[in-house]
């Protein structure tokens, strides 16, 4: 062979190899479209062990360890004190542990650690606090029913070992979605919904809603109850609380105004399911756990975070306007809600002060003052329902802005009533 022939042979060999590679990679061997089911032993809650069989899901779950500000700057996953940005929290939760420690929540892997470090509770607190912090709740409830809610938290934390992980939402045998918080199952059952018969799309919201919901501890038993018997809106939930369910009247009495106050807890499921996306059948996971691809294989992201971090996967399957326009839209909703939330919060704080002054006036009209407290209780509940949720208005902007507007009006009415009670107009 002369030199020319050698080059020709080399060129042909390289070409054949190159096209063979493309053929094999594109047509002969496709990315797997079947996921091998690996059953995990019941009662195994270690995510690293599940992760050996489900590496893509586990790797994305590990991203929940990231601590970062959200793309719009609201909430996020850094454990800063919320009162640094809203000083009115100190006034509105005076006399309640939330005035001492009210941190922004971090990701699921921190659930147990942050529970232990919260200054609001101690090892002698009630076991009810662990209901949403670990999959071990499954065992606690199976063994003792709701009795675990009255045990000291310290004992249960030692048995729990793992924070919110795979087992909270997945059946270990079949990997099907499941809910294990008995409070959620009971609340849905009171509404006539059998969670066991839910379809997959419903489950894609229920698994989140079992914990991202408003609740209270029933007096004496400390059983966790979700207050949904009259509906999901702040107005309906307030009406429910007005019936003193299970003898529950308030979370604390404000020391200045002597108002019985309800503390709201992250009503994310309530806001979302009454909002535009929820009403039209979009599940929590559709946006917060979008489908991703890794090496051509489809999987569900288990990095539960702001969908603005995954606009392409979360939003563009329906909204094609481009990430900048979508970001601006969300940002505008959150900016508006934040501004009105601050106005409502500071008006409520001012009202506590006015009611305190009215109390100190001799011969104050106590009936009228009681009326002022009733108005202030409702005003603070409406403000807190929005302030305690994670979406900063996005899940249901119309309802949340409406609720904040009502809060401001009620707080002003409370101040007027307090002045009337005191026979003054300058408090």
């Amino acid at each position: 062979m002369n030199r020319m022939q050698k080059i020709l042979v080399l060129f042909l060999s390289v070409s054949v190899l190159f096209f063979a590679l493309i053929t094999v990679r594109v047509w002969a061997i496709k990315p797997p479209a079947v996921m091998k089911l690996t059953p995990i032993a019941a009662g195994e809650y270690d995510p690293a062990l599940w992760g050996k069989s489900y590496p893509m899901e586990y790797n994305s779950y590990q991203k929940n360890l990231d601590m970062a500000s959200s793309p719009t700057g609201y909430n996020g996953s850094i454990n800063y004190q919320k009162a640094e940005r809203q000083p009115e929290l100190y006034v509105n939760f005076k006399g309640n542990p939330f005035s001492k420690d009210y941190t922004e929540d971090r990701g699921h892997p921190y659930a147990l650690e942050d529970l232990l470090h919260s200054k609001r509770i101690s090892p002698t607190s009630k076991g009810a606090c662990i209901t949403c912090k670990t999959p071990a709740i499954e065992q606690f409830y199976n063994q003792t029913g709701w009795a675990f809610a009255n045990e000291p938290l310290g004992n249960l934390v030692q048995q729990a070992k793992h924070p919110v992980t795979c087992g909270n939402c997945h059946d270990p045998e079949t990997m099907a979605l499941r809910v294990i918080n008995p409070a959620f199952i009971e609340a849905m059952s009171r509404q006539g919904v059998d969670v066991a018969k839910a379809n997959r799309q419903e489950m894609r919201s229920y698994v989140c809603g079992q914990c991202h919901a408003e609740y209270y501890f029933a007096p004496n038993t400390n059983q966790v109850v979700l207050p949904w018997d009259k509906g999901f809106t702040p107005q309906e939930i307030y009406e429910y609380y007005s019936t003193k369910p299970n003898g529950f009247e308030q979370d604390f009495i404000h020391p200045d105004s002597q108002t019985p106050i309800l503390k709201a807890q992250h009503p994310d499921y309530e806001e979302s399911s009454t909002g535009t996306h929820g009403k039209f059948g979009v599940s929590c996971a559709d946006c917060h756990m979008p489908y991703m691809r890794s090496s051509g294989q489809k999987y569900t992201s288990h990095w539960v975070t702001s969908p603005l971090r995954t606009v392409r996967e979360s939003c563009t399957p329906c909204h094609t306007q481009g990430s900048e326009q979508l970001y601006n839209q969300v940002r505008a909703i959150q900016d508006n809600t934040w501004q009105l939330q601050r106005t409502a919060g500071t008006t409520v704080a001012h009202a506590h002060d006015v009611l305190k002054k009215a109390r100190d006036i001799p011969n104050v009209n106590n009936d009228e003052l009681a009326n002022a407290r009733k108005l202030l209780r409702q005003a603070q509940w409406y403000w807190d329902y929005v302030a305690a949720a994670n979406s900063q208005g996005f899940h249901n902007s119309v309802l949340e802005l409406h609720t904040l507007g009502q809060s401001i009006d009620l707080a002003n009415q409370a101040m007027t009533a307090a002045n009337r009670a005191a026979g003054r107009n300058d408090l």
Binding site: R25, A33, M35, G296, K298, T316
Partner: protein, 157 residues
């Protein structure tokens, strides 16, 4: 040496051989192009699975992918876009780095939109839309590759 040997070949034979080579080449090219124009070829890529399925269920199933996604003004533009897209798509198909949500580039959008108007221009002609940007896909994006017919997910076994 080689020059001398070439000179000995009959020029008529050389021209004849040239014709044969050209015909074989053209046949080869036309067969390849015809094959590559078939939706089954487009759908044979993993990343195209769900758009292929939704197209099969659409009211445009009698058209090929290229009828809508390639420029139809002239053969050169069509071949250029087909070649350029083909190379780019093969590259990502081999690397498997395509996202789960595949969306239009600005160029692809305008090509498809022009193809809507190729048949449907008369629909918008008497309306104010004709004066504007006339982007059909902006509203009718779910017409062919509608949602709710997604295939290509993962089966758990």
């Amino acid at each position: 040496m080689t020059e001398n040997r070439n000179l000995k070949i009959n020029p008529i034979f050389l021209i004849f051989m040239g014709f044969v080579a050209a015909i074989i080449g053209m046949l080869f090219f036309a067969t390849g192009l015809s094959y590559a124009d078939k939706p089954t070829f487009c759908g044979s890529c993993h990343s195209m699975q769900h758009v292929y399925t939704s197209w099969q269920n659409s009211n445009h199933q009698h058209f090929t992918c290229g009828d809508c996604h390639l420029p139809q003004e002239n053969i050169l533009a069509k071949l250029y876009v087909k070649g350029e897209n083909g190379l780019r798509h093969t590259y990502h198909e081999v690397l498997r780095d395509y996202p789960d949500t595949i969306s239009f580039t600005t160029t692809a959008n305008s090509i498809a939109n022009n193809n809507c108007l190729r048949c449907h221009a008369y629909v918008v002609a008497p309306t104010p839309l004709a004066a504007g940007e006339k982007n059909c896909i902006h509203c009718h994006r779910n017409l062919i590759h509608g949602r709710g017919q997604v295939e290509g997910g993962v089966t758990v076994e």
